[in-house]
């Protein structure tokens, strides 16, 4: 029999501040050399499971633990965190938080330094580890000059130096652009194969993880394990849908087409997937499609003219960018990590001043207006929720902007309650924000801007770290707002989101605008895809694979059908 490296036996855990346990009677075995994926809705307890494995629970987070958890055959309660850290290497959700060294070399060497490894030996080990993640040319580089993807690689090398038995990743793909995300999964796969480590991945982006082989998927819902099976088997069930986890798009399409999935069709691996068996269904379903209604042309509401900007002299972050947004439009901004997407939005909101060029709102030059003046017209939800939150209670945080503007108490309460319901936060309204998971915090910041009802809303990665239910709720709400005439711009790394909700996409790479076109066209241009680290969706590839004549139309058909199905569902969800 294979060796068990992680054994949860009737394990429960309750955080001190919680009334109810977060993990409930967990039974779970993970075997040597396995690669396991943990999925589940936001706040279901995935990270908590991770903390139990690496020892942060109970050594750093306090709470009540019952049952047993063994790592490498030893009860974790009886170990200390140092002993555990020799067995479990963790790559945390937040790359900035865990990049502790000033340079790449130092950060990789951190664990070795703590072990008092002699410097000479250290140089060798660091060199090897950095080679494995292809960062050996960057050893003297400072942390501030790395992109998000590079930081993630360094974090990986940092845990590799210890020759751990288990590697634990908590949302390794969060905030990575599509191409870098793919690369990260390939890298994890390579390392696992080379070292025969056991790998546990916690991630929302199921389809992106399945880009490489996974042995088993564990589905967590509300602190319990609701499924523990092979990916092929799981995809043939309805469990993912029931727990609000986004299925791979091609699977969903096949299901919509009414094709019966079986395990031996290998649905989890797109390359092996026997899609031909569904060809007939797909073709039939496809022909049912209605042509799409073209959108209305509006008046220009926002215009950027030849904007350039640099954070520090000598290096331009934004290079001569111009584009305009029409009233009532919904536009995506996409592109590589570090391309300057967030910077552009900061320029629009007046957080930074362009070094040249001008910004027009409704034809009027607002380049010299203050942040406060612009904020009456343009609302912005920042990438990092912690940068916006200044109150301790959810209700107060969402109400803050209205209070400052002197809105009457009764109206504030009504508007805030409404917004909280839409964002799925109503049950938590009297909680302190500090007790929320990352995804929940992000929703609080979205709510705090939505409630102000600005003319234009800019959202920086609104769906990062969200589960499918909240993704749908937020996006459908934005669509509703959009129908009422609110203009919406959003930055995203989710190609399907771009196709599904926005007709137009503006693409950035290295500080330049490299495309401004219909979203579907952007994704049909190999050049742009490569330059901007984008990725074709699996729907498109499914159409190609099964020989459907017009793959673009197929994607459109899917989006339309999918939205109809979900609108029925989400109406119930909003009542919640």
């Amino acid at each position: 029999m294979r060796k068990r490296v992680i054994e949860f036996h009737n394990f429960s855990f309750k955080y001190h501040s919680q009334k109810n346990p977060t993990l409930k009677n967990i039974h779970l075995n993970i075997y040597e050399g396995e690669k396991v994926l943990i999925v589940g809705p936001s706040g279901s307890g995935k990270s908590t499971i991770g903390h139990c494995i690496n020892g942060l629970i109970p050594f750093s987070y306090k709470g009540e633990m019952t049952g047993s958890l063994k790592v490498m055959g030893q009860e974790t309660k009886e170990l200390n965190i140092f002993a555990l850290s020799k067995m479990v290497g963790t790559v945390l959700q937040d790359p900035d938080g865990q990049f502790i060294g000033l340079t790449v070399g130092e950060d990789i060497a951190f664990a070795l330094e703590n072990d008092c490894t002699p410097q000479k030996e250290m140089f060798g080990i660091v060199k090897d580890a950095s080679k494995m993640v292809e960062m050996d040319d960057y050893l003297p580089a400072s942390v501030h000059h790395l992109s998000g993807g590079q930081k993630q690689r360094v974090s990986l090398a940092g845990v590799m130096v210890d020759k751990v038995d288990i590697l634990l990743f908590d949302e390794p793909l969060a905030n990575l652009d599509p191409a870098t995300g793919k690369y990260a999964m390939a890298l994890i796969d390579k390392i696992q194969k080379e070292t025969n480590t056991t790998v546990v991945i916690i991630e929302h982006r199921l389809e992106d993880v399945l880009y490489r082989h996974v042995d088993r998927i564990i589905v967590v819902n509300d602190g319990s394990i609701v499924a523990d099976m092979s990916p092929d088997q799981l995809l043939t069930t309805n469990i993912l849908e029931e727990t609000n986890i986004r299925e791979p798009l091609y699977i969903k399409a096949v299901k919509y087409a009414g094709c019966e999935l079986t395990e031996d069709m290998h649905p989890a691996d797109f390359n092996q997937f026997k899609a031909d068996l569904c060809r007939k269904n797909l073709l039939e379903w496809f022909e049912d499609s209605n042509p799409k209604t073209p959108s209305k042309e509006g008046k220009t509401i926002l215009e950027l003219k030849n904007i350039s900007f640099s954070y520090s002299p000598g290096h331009e972050t934004i290079k001569d960018v111009s584009f305009s947004i029409n009233k009532g439009e919904m536009v995506s901004i996409v592109g590589k990590n570090g391309a300057g997407k967030s910077t552009i939005t900061k320029l629009i909101c007046g957080f930074e001043k362009p070094s040249s060029g001008s910004i027009l709102f409704n034809g009027k030059d607002i380049t010299n207006e203050t942040i406060k003046e612009r904020s009456l017209k343009i609302g912005m939800v920042m990438q990092n929720p912690n940068h916006m939150i200044s109150k301790h209670m959810i209700f107060d945080e969402v109400a803050l902007g209205l209070k400052v503007r002197g809105v009457a108490e009764a109206e504030i309460k009504e508007r805030v309650d409404n917004t909280l319901k839409i964002c799925g936060l109503y049950p938590f309204r009297n909680w302190p924000i500090s007790a929320l998971s990352f995804g929940q915090k992000k929703r609080v910041t979205i709510a705090s801007i939505l409630v102000l009802e600005p003319d234009i809303i800019i959202l920086d990665e609104p769906t990062a770290g969200q589960d499918f239910r909240h993704y749908t709720d937020i996006m459908e709400f934005l669509v509703q707002l959009n129908r009422q005439g609110v203009t919406i711009m959003m930055i995203t790394h989710d190609m399907h989101l771009m196709l599904e909700y926005t007709e137009r996409a503006i693409v950035f790479a290295e500080g330049r605008k490299i495309a401004d076109d219909l979203a579907v066209n952007v994704l049909s241009d190999i050049d742009i895809i490569e330059q901007a680290n984008l990725k074709e969706t699996s729907l498109y590839n499914l159409a190609l694979k099964t020989g459907i004549p017009e793959p673009r139309k197929f994607v459109e058909r899917f989006i339309e059908y999918d939205r109809e199905v979900r609108q029925v569902g989400s109406r119930d969800a909003i009542l919640y």
Partner: protein
């Protein structure tokens, strides 16, 4: 130094605290309208950190933060003031036990205690220590440095009283009670 008592958390708090001290000290002073005299929000932050993490952390945040700020932004260290930051951080930190902010309770009595402590501590620091060191190290005239100390001291006392107290109240509220969270 009894370094075994310095937990990882305290060390990180010193490091990050010092970084925040540097940035607040350089960028977050509030103009009062009187030229050349700004309200330093830094000391409100220092007081908060001292109360949360205790005297050793408070003192070292003051020392490291202030020395680095001077070095990085002004290219030289004004030792007399650095010593005061160290002292203020350390002495306010001595009150951390009796205030016990982690309990989540920060009522009127504790607010008064905190403010009495901070006023006494800053009086010692700004009215006595800073001017004396200025005279000792730089041989500056006594009446100049004592007046300077008086102005800076009073403005810092007010800042800590207002902003420091607000920050402590906010922090206390984030300390949730055991077993108190439930969905409604």
């Amino acid at each position: 130094m009894k370094e075994n008592n310095l937990s990882i958390k305290t060390i990180v708090a010193i490091g990050i605290g010092a970084a925040v001290f540097v940035i607040l000290g350089r960028f977050a002073s509030i103009p009062t309208g009187i030229p050349n005299s700004n309200i330093e929000t830094t000391y409100a932050f220092l007081a908060l950190m001292s109360i949360i993490f205790g005297p050793v952390a408070g003192g070292l945040i003051g020392l490291i933060g202030h020395a680095l700020k001077d070095l990085i932004f002004y290219g030289s260290i004004w030792w007399s003031w650095v010593v005061v930051s160290l002292l203020v951080g350390f002495l306010i930190g001595l009150a951390s036990k009796s205030i016990d902010i982690e309990s989540g309770e920060f009522g009127t009595k504790k607010i008064i205690t905190f403010n009495i402590v901070q006023v006494i501590v800053q009086a010692i620091g700004w009215f006595l220590v800073a001017p004396s060191l200025d005279i000792l190290i730089y041989a500056e005239p006594a009446n100049k440095v004592f007046l300077q100390g008086l102005v800076v001291g009073i403005s810092n006392m007010v800042t800590v009283a207002v902003i420091g107290t607000l920050l402590l109240l906010l922090y206390a509220k984030t300390r949730v009670q055991k077993g108190s969270l439930d969905k409604e």
